[in-house]
Symmetry: D2
Subunit: 160 residues, 4 copies
DNA sequence: TTTT
DNA sequence: TTTT
């Protein structure tokens, strides 16, 4: 039983960070991955793949990725289903990421034109927990501090 | 832009083989991939991943895999959407396989109890094209002929 | 920075289990992965890929895999180099496995004809530590106990 | 039998492009992939993974990648061996790429300081064939023409 | 023989 | 130094 996914693509929107009632961080984002071939009508298309990441790396994703950011994802395909408000069963297929790689140099990536993506009217970190982590894990507070290489925001620590 | 998936799991049902109006074979099947961890209520769960494969390998899948067969899949995640009969947009995420590996020795795999899966009342190959292929491609007519190793039913030939 | 490998193949020999001076288990094995195409002289060939796995899963590999066993590996490519006895630098490329999947039903896999592979004259577990694990990890003592599905012998616990 | 590799890293040197006696292009390059963890002595290390790519994409690699370029690779692990001049058998493990992704915006990637990497005194394309391709394949002559997304320089065409 |  |  093997279930392994590797993706490189761009975020279609700023990631959404939430916390479970017990305080576990979870971030959702969608990766647009351009197809390497054209459709019969001749234009290039993309797959839009929903991704989820938990715990500390979720906070890193929310802090360092924006709409348009180029990112790499390693994870597995997760399927689940639930009953919606009309009593209909909805089937969901998404990628649960183990780690996310930020593949752009700082101040370079994505659509941040006008800087609006970083504006305080932004809602991507609405219910953010105060960032009082003592940082004894693999990630730096500022993953850009260490040089100009892409950043590994993976994290296997259990912060809760 | 990278989009790569590798799965090993078991078919939840016999594969479904169809042909497009222009005669292109396409097979659909769902792979159950057991998760390597248990849910909070303590039982092992699985992901049920819809897969599609086209052309000659689709016919091989229909011929050599059954409900319960252990199979390996290499492919990419494909997303698409369509409007259903109620006018609602339905979003689909599935794996488009480049190749499928049959990971069981002949006469060993899956649920073939009573042999019913191979019975002629079976509908898995209902609208089969006559198998008049001259077979100058990488797959043997009988992939089991060559020994007892797992069978590669991948195919990059363009039969149409 | 992404480095991900997925392999399914057969062990060319019984795995070799060793322990570091500090008592950490490490198993080495080679996976023969048949190529999906033939060479110009018409015969099928294989890649022989050296794999390493650490800690508890190393012991599981030594216990449950044999020459000829069909196994799945997830891991990363590791490169290292050392100076050999003639003072020459030797470059090594191998796969460090995060997890290994046993893809054969019990009593079915590999070449165990004559049962010799399990005999006490075997040397695959020569310097085995006594198996006094209290087993509070994800793997059962008997991974076959749970049914007939392939076994996940991955392990993220830190046993030391 | 599955053998799948996905890498994202930086070229340690300009790629080397050669042609076989029958005129088939082949490029070699090494990818440095930084490890997501530190060694016991506290510094970050990398794996240096030798890669090979054939035919048209080999020419694209030679044209668009340089020392320091960030690239994604999909492929398989290949093992081979040969006898060296001292009559000793040498074992080689490398990645044969199906496709390579250029992950940097134009005029941004790698070490091209002084533009010297593109200078005509460069030797990375010494025995280049004249680039008289009629280009009816998936790649544009100028992969940068189509916008600012990463470039897929994969190619399954058989140019010979 | 290594990249940022 | 290779598996089925």
């Amino acid at each position: 039983m093997i279930n392994r996914v590797v993706l490189v693509g761009r975020l279609t929107k700023d990631p959404e960070l939430k916390y479970t009632p017990t305080g576990v961080a979870v971030a959702n984002f969608t990766l647009a991955v351009n197809r390497p071939f054209s459709s019969q009508d001749g234009n290039r298309e993309a797959d839009f793949i929903n991704c989820v990441i938990w715990r500390k790396p979720a906070e890193n994703v929310a802090n360092f990725l924006r709409k348009g950011s180029l990112a790499g994802v390693e994870g597995r395909i997760n399927t689940r289903n639930y009953e919606n408000q009309e009593g209909r069963r909805v089937y969901v297929t998404e990628v649960v990421a183990d780690s996310v790689q930020f593949l752009e140099p700082r101040n370079s990536g994505g659509q941040q034109s006008g800087g609006s993506s970083y504006g305080e009217e932004n809602n991507y970190n609405q219910n953010r927990k105060p960032n009082n982590n003592q940082n004894n894990n693999r990630q730096d507070d500022d993953p850009f501090a260490g040089g100009s290489q892409p950043i590994d925001i993976s994290d296997d620590d259990l912060p809760f």
